[in-house]
Amino acid sequence: MQSKTRHFISLLLRLILGVVFGYAAYTKLSQPWALFAISVDAYHILPEWAVTVVARGLPWLELALAVLIVLGPWRRTTSVAASTLLLVFFGMMVRAYLRGEQIDCGCFGPGEAISPLTLVRDGALLAVSGFLTWDAFQHSRRPARSFQSQYSSY
């Protein structure tokens, strides 16, 4: 892939992922925190104290990731963090779906049940984040010190 095209695709995907994370944070922060806590609790994975921590903290983490993904500093760290988060979300959703639990996804506020559509959407976001992680490690590698600079002190 040509460098210019790759750079454009990467920028576009960063914008998409950043907007999605920003919107997810907005929908949670604009409502009582306990509403999101109910969605988290419905997965029956975390104890009540951890549900509270996640419900209060996750929207802020999503907001921070949204800003960092769009602005672009620490690309390796932010893309790994976003991919890890999306992988956890996706895993939890698949688990709930396979167990036949009819619960809210909790992705963008309440009122959206887990369905094949939400799984495809989150799977696609995970793929986008995975590509950005690969891209960050593949193409934003720190320039290796040149042979001359490495040995100039000898």
Partner: protein, 195 residues
Amino acid sequence: MKLSFPLLFSLLPILSAAPTLDKAKTFGNPDAPITIELFSDFQCPSCRMLHITLLPSIMRDYVLPGKAYLVYKEYPLPQHNHSREAAAYACAAARVGKYEQVADALFQNQPAWAENGKVFETVSTALTPAEQKKVQALARDPGILDEVQQDVQQGQSQGVNQTPTMLIIHGTKRYPVAGVPNYSLLRSILDGLAK
């Protein structure tokens, strides 16, 4: 004063289009700061669990003290073969002032009638012989069937896609809570809104 008649006249279509509220399906103070619209299906096991385990606490802590106004809404799901019939009987029972009693009987005995289809036999345990006749006739009334359908359409228009769903209404804001939530988390929401 000149303006009041045209203003009232212009409001008429809005007022007539507003959904009618069957008082027998509502509980508590209509002026409470919070309204809870509970969309449920008599044949859904989670609705049964909510009705038996959570609703008594909501009634005790919020509805009876006047902090919340509870409105029952029917949302029979198509995959439940007897739920629309049960909803029709419950709405008919509301006309004789026995909605709550019939809803209790339907939820308590849900596993049995969901299996054998004896919905009216279950409903009749909460009614006197005279009420049974009236409810049986009313349940076939197109007005009652329409009432059930109106509840379903209202739920669909408000994004209800599973049962049970509680729509917590505070001012102009609506917060949907699907499933059977943890009561302490639900309290956090209701206490925050009731302040």
